[in-house]
Symmetry: D2
Subunit: 288 residues, 4 copies
């Protein structure tokens, strides 16, 4: 299950028709690629097929470009889109935070120890508080304050950093700002947020306080791709913890921190290993 250092990933999706598995696995066989992990899902309601293969080329002559071109021809017959990911790929990422540091601290630990194959390009915050944490990990920290008046400009600065660094992934690690529709659109499918409730319950501000008011016996966290509908983007992962009447709002906040960290880290790990597929506002996640 742990990804080997020498395996490639092929992730693909297409409409459901006869032969979708075969077109992938036959090609891998022909190319002398040994499949080390294989997942597929045929969505009979969405009539959509998803497949992910980890494989190890058995011939020294394996060539990325010719594999890519060769498979393109086969995939085209099925209307299949695909992505090929080389071994040891580290995904460039920008992290957005505000003042709360628990998710950032957790992500940086996993980054530092190689648990998450990230190449963190920048940490951006609307507050100065977390700079020293970034510094200790030798990461650039941009303090970009935000006010109603400067919001558009601040977002442009954020987008510039994302573009300049070539980051493929944006992580909102408890970034307490609502992104503008334009920003959401530009980051569609490549920005992951952690919301501190079991969505669709308790959207918006202060979800733990909402949970307290409602008297729920479980609280949780939801990692999802952002889209233009606040806290409504496609869900990648959710975590949950039991609570009771004795948990005041601040206890829910405290208890929730660990779930938020774990849920966000899990979602990012899935994304980085190309285990997540987006289609029609929902995700297919070949988790582990």
């Amino acid at each position: 299950m742990s990804r080997m250092t020498d395996t490639w990933i092929l992730a693909a999706q297409c409409p459901s028709i006869l032969g979708t598995v075969d077109v992938v696995t036959r090609f891998l066989k022909e190319q002398h690629c040994y499949i080390t992990e294989l997942n597929s899902f045929d969505d009979r309601l969405g009539e959509r097929f998803f497949i992910r293969a980890e494989f190890r080329p058995e011939l020294d002559a394996f060539n990325e470009q010719s594999f890519q071109e060769g498979f393109e021809r086969r995939a085209a017959e099925f209307g299949m889109t695909f992505e090929l990911t080389p071994p040891a790929k580290r995904t460039g990422a920008v992290i957005l935070v505000s003042k709360a540091d628990h998710c950032l601290n957790d992500l940086l630990y996993r980054y530092r120890t190689g648990q998450l194959p990230l190449d963190i390009k920048a940490i951006i915050s609307n507050h100065p508080d977390l700079e020293s944490l970034a510094s200790w990990h030798d990461l650039p920290y941009y303090h970009l304050p935000i006010t109603p008046e400067t919001k558009a400009e601040q977002e442009s600065q954020v987008l510039d950093i994302i573009e300049d660094t070539g980051a493929e992934l944006v992580i909102l690690a408890r970034y307490m700002q609502v992104l503008s529709p334009r920003m959401c659109e530009l980051l569609d499918g490549r920005a992951i947020n952690i919301h501190h409730s079991l969505l669709p319950g308790f959207k918006g501000a202060k979800p733990y306080h909402q949970a307290y008011e409602k008297g729920v016996k479980l609280v949780g966290a939801t990692a999802h791709y952002i889209n233009n509908d606040l806290d409504e983007g496609p869900i990648i992962a959710q975590g949950v913890e039991p609570v009771d009447h004795a948990h005041y709002p601040e206890d829910l906040v405290a208890k929730g921190r660990d779930i938020e960290c774990l849920t966000l880290a899990r979602a990012i790990g899935y994304h980085l290993e190309r285990r997540v597929f987006l289609y029609n506002g929902r995700t297919v996640v070949f988790g582990n």
Copy 2:
């Protein structure tokens, strides 16, 4: 934790002031009652105190009436309301069902084996399907069909049965009818419903289908007292199970059955053992 066959329960609540614990425990000591289990909670936001004691009288001379009268005087000073429950008390109950039998089957098993100290007075359904299940357990079954036109009359019949049998508790074990406001009011605080979602998410009809549409990664069930606000009554217990993209609505329905049974049984158990306190639209539950 398991209740002994010879223990009484004293459950009480009052405003938060100095001496609330002492007034209870001192009286028990004076009455030579040995406390076998004690739970209390002082709600500093609601400024309300809750206490539950299981105790065993050590003197043969223990007398329920004099205990009751003696404690009433003490409790009055604190504005404390309380309930005294004798050993081996079985609570009279009426169960409402429709066609789905999983919760009923589960409850009847726990009833038959003594896991739930219920005295089931009647099973009422708007469908005839579950009569044989009731019969096998030697329980009266009332088939009271319901149409928009007969709803008021049917509810009157249901209420008559509840009243005639002296049932203290009404269990809605997947009863697929919305109760009228009048019915909700009359059953306030003594009717427990199981809703097949993690409330407040997915209220109303077909919650598993809603959950599928939303693409959640967790589904659950919520046991709550009914009130006049559909699926908004005070929550007693919640259960949860992980799911993924491969769970179609009918899979969620199937997976949810076990959680519904367990969550409803847990809530009823808490209610019967006087572990649940209602205050201000929320519950305090001294669970185990």
Copy 3:
């Protein structure tokens, strides 16, 4: 995920070499069989490959025997063993019980409602207690008492019933007898037991009492194939529940019942849907 009523299952295993996936999926394509669910696992430590496909023949001309024979030739090249399971297959089973009825009650409910595609041939017990439960489900009940002197004879009677009824699966639903080595051998790979602990912790008798003595904070249950080593057979599924100091042994027994039922039912469901593979004393389980 829920199995369609018109899908076949192909389950196979063989040594790990290039082309193991391809040999299966190519054949299915050639036979115009549409794959609705596909799972595979290549065990790089055990150097063993496992695959399970659910598929729907798209041609009316689909013929079981010719599929079987055709695939046998392909499989032979890979040293692959396989099993083909037709739609709507119900597996013949014999259930062994003693006095505790919770697992039996749960299984019979799932059997009656079609949740488990079982064809229960007989219920055998060393006690008479559960006969009425069997009767209500119109199932034959054999009361075969056991003493140290009659153990061999009783086991022969049990084996006779299994053989006479053609049962493929034997379920030990809290059967409180240690099977003889001969019995274990004869039932190798087709008898599932539920043990009321998280194996390998607390093997043998009275595991909840052992758990209490040890002061654990979690209890659980383990469903496993029986083998000749008491409570050491290959594990199929495990379930767990948190407990605390206030749970006396009888509370653990009570709390454990639900986990035992759920864990056993889950393991049987996996087995019946050919999701479990046995190899080298371990299982591969393509769960859901």
Copy 4:
């Protein structure tokens, strides 16, 4: 549930006799101490009573010494031992580690953010690797290598540091050394270890590898007080995660890290808040 900054803790235990609750709560009432949280447990098998009260003195005249002396007289009648803990108490602690940094990193985060009221006096390791982590938190780091020959001497050095710093608690945060019997004895009841398995399963070395061999479907971690019997000390907390056949030993190691961190942090939190009572080789834990 979250401890207020102005509350004291009274934790006590004694033999089970009539009046044990009353002697505590009556005294608190007389001293005008408002109980904000109360937990008690009467162990009917061990015939032992445990109580923990958080309280807030309502009079300015509250005096620790006179409270202590006054309660000592009352407690003596019941053979009750007790401990009084002032508000804002931070417990002095020494942390032992080897090379693995996940638990240390997690503890230091919770220490830095005040989630765990620790006063970390020193970090001691038999390896130099984690010094920079200690430095970033401005904590002294002692690299005390260990060989079979120097084990006794190294332990003496460790004990000296514990004694010199006045540390009340020793945390073994994945310290991969077996402590000598003398060391265990000296640290009895005040050293918490995290073992990476669900004890009593998989004691000793390489528990995840043992778990892989056994093919379990759940792995976990156990936080316990050390005693002279390897991995057999009284359990404080346990955590668990589901796994499957696709988890190789290194995957179990990776997956287990989060559970280890959470379980150790939970146990330490309970210990620091005086929620853990030791008696007869078992714990009573008034968790939250």
